[in-house]
Amino acid sequence: MTAMRKIVILGATSGIALEVQRLLAREGCELLLVARSSQRLAEVQADLAARGAHQVLTYSADLASIRQHAAIFEFARHTLPDFDTVLLAYGSMRDQKDSETSIDILLEELQVNFVSATAILTLFAADLERRRTGCLAAITSVAGDRGRRSNYLYGSSKGALSLFLQGLRSRLHPAGVRVITVKPGPVQTPMTDHMPNSTRFADPKQVARDIVDALERRSPDVLYTPKIWRYIMTAVQQIPETIFKRLSF
């Protein structure tokens, strides 16, 4: 626990981040929350303070816009200079069909889920590497483990981020900085409400519990949550491409 007292959350108003923050607040952590809406940030700040967070700082910025990253990073270095954990929790899931006819949507999706994520992680990684401490975690998705007809744009953007984290992990290992790839299965959050059967998806509270546990332990490097998804994706990855390409899910 002493290893994670000060945490920067990028995308603090996302469905999973909200639950992670509640658990961290309960443990008395100090939090710096970054998200777009200052109104929503203020509501979350009040909630986490009431639930026991030692300190809750907020910074309102659009994480998808790389031009704003330097200011975000400077704010973190000034207000929470010895932060020890960074959790990237933002993402976007646009309709696959729409992205097949609109290159703008396709590029936006890549910008949010991959390009901007790698940019901001690189900023924070350098600082942790220099200080030779801490932990970087990012939420990708099981959808990134295999490209599927119904969701391959989202999947490839998250899969690319998983690959990026793999390399980053190797780079930061000598400095003693941990990199955790969080791969949730489908979770009941506003991002997935429109999907069929979304009421049967995983409870974000359970996913948050798994993430916080992973932050507090030494392992794993890659967290599947709920746990069963590690086995499901292992099986899915075994299906030969000649068969897989015929599947419509």
């Binding site: 469905g15 069909k97 015929r246």
Partner: protein, 453 residues
């Protein structure tokens, strides 16, 4: 996959999402909704209200209303459970501002360790603040503290036509009174200011006393109401005119040192099969409950959760009554009319359809906090009956006669079948409430008892 089935699949993926089922706690009636909105932020609510058709929406919380007052068959629900943030707390006064989807369980988890407790709590902590206000719920301390709504000092209310209305004793007081007990029909509660109360810790000094007649219950209740904050009785509803039961009375204990371990209870994994539910098993349950508690009579220091929320320790206990669901019958009968209570219990006993849990409580004389508040001076009885079709409904109609003749009332939060006439008799002032209904709101219950469209 053949081309044809792939095309079918694509067609399905663009079709509107299937109708969503939302259940009330009694699992009767079973209704489908066209859509369930799930706002995660208060700033999303105005758009939902703005774009909805007239009389199409109803706020929904944890679905602990028993009948159809939390349902909106064929129309839409606004699931408020993600609006679950604590927006502020004043440590010196105990004033809490919470969004409407915060559960009472959550409030206890956060504030009991700091020495604060709910001013009024119903028999389950798995209800939302919004639901507690909309049904103006009561608890075992009604004779002292009145209803939940009496401790709500201010609300922010999303209205479809005029934005966020701030309602308190100075501004929009009538809208506050309409919203308390207003069954969710006046708009979506954005947040509420609730006055918590100081307690020493999680322990309750409780005493249980067996009784063998309604008269002795009333004597016990009268003598206890002055010195005990909480009073309630459990009733063996197979015993008829001379009911036996266990009277519970309690106060918050000054004890604070003792180690407290909240426990997570068992969960009923599926509906109990119908063949296990009959008058014999239910009678056996009632007898066993009486014997066990009668044997344990006396005083004890108990944790708050086992005192206030015995059923919360069995998650999904509503499945106890089987797949068909169950109906709850809660009425209040004026104290001057004790014979009516005896008659009611007699009809239940003679029907052979007794329930697992009969609860009896003497309400206090606090003025109602809301326009449609249910509690009023008298004896309130709650009984549950497994849904067995027509004969269950017939029994309840025959109970209605007794309640109506006595000048009593039924509780909408528990109801799935009362007639317009019974509603009218229970809430003679309901027409004065109508102007406060938000034009975008409606519910299955409201349409059923008032004939509204």
């Amino acid at each position: 996959m053949s081309g044809q089935s792939a095309a079918t699949l694509r067609k399905q993926s663009v079709a509107p999402p299937p109708t969503e089922q939302a259940l009330s706690w009694g699992r009767y009636p079973k209704t489908a909704h066209r859509r369930v909105h799930k706002p995660a932020w208060n700033d999303e609510v105005p758009e939902i209200l703005g774009t909805a058709a007239p009389a199409s929406l109803l706020p929904y919380g944890l679905g602990r209303s028993y009948g159809d007052s939390c349902l909106n068959a064929g129309r839409e629900l606004i699931d408020c459970r993600r609006l679950n943030r604590i927006l502020g707390f004043d440590e010196s006064t105990g004033m809490l501002r919470s969004e409407s989807g915060v559960s009472l369980a959550d409030i206890i988890d956060v504030f009991l360790p700091k020495g604060w407790f709910l001013p009024v709590t119903p028999g389950t902590r798995f209800v939302t603040v919004g639901g507690a206000i909309a049904n103006d719920v009561h608890g075992k301390n009604h004779h002292r503290a009145g209803t939940f709504g009496a401790h709500v000092c201010q609300i922010g209310l999303h209205r479809s036509n005029d934005g966020l209305a701030i309602c308190n004793s100075q501004d929009n007081f009538d809208m506050l009174q309409a919203t308390i007990g207003g069954l969710g029909l006046t708009g979506v509660i954005a947040w509420a200011d609730l006055q918590l109360k100081r307690v020493a810790g999680p322990w309750i000094d409780a005493e249980s006393i067996p009784f063998q007649s309604l008269g002795s219950f009333i004597d016990l209740s009268r003598e206890s109401n002055d010195c005990f904050e909480y009073t309630v009785a459990w009733l063996d509803c197979f015993a008829g005119k001379h009911p036996r039961g266990i009277f519970f009375r309690a106060n918050h204990s000054a004890e604070r040192g003792k180690q407290f371990h909240p426990k997570r209870g068992a969960k009923l994994p599926f509906a109990v099969p119908a063949w296990m539910l009959n008058r014999y098993s239910e009678r056996a349950f009632n007898t066993a409950y009486y014997r066990i508690h009668a044997a344990r009579k006396g005083r004890a220091l108990v944790p708050y959760d086992s005192f206030f929320y015995p059923l919360d320790s069995i998650r999904q206990w509503n499945l106890l009554h089987g797949k068909q669901g169950f109906l709850q019958y809660q009425c209040v009968i004026p104290e001057t009319n004790v014979e009516a209570v005896e008659e009611l219990l007699d009809r239940v006993a003679r029907s052979g359809m007794g329930s697992f849990l009969g609860v009896l409580k003497q309400f206090g004389s606090a003025p109602p906090a809301g326009m449609l508040s249910f509690p009023r001076p008298g004896l309130t009885i709650a009984l549950d009956f497994a849904m067995r079709g027509e004969r269950t409904l017939k029994l309840m109609q025959s109970l209605d006669e007794v309640v109506q003749q006595s000048g009593g009332a039924l509780y909408p939060a528990k109801d799935a079948r009362m007639s317009s006439a019974v509603f009218e008799a229970s809430f003679p002032r309901w027409r004065a409430f109508v102007p406060y209904i938000d034009p975008k709101m409606s519910s299955s219950f409201w349409r059923r008892v008032t004939g509204a469209q």
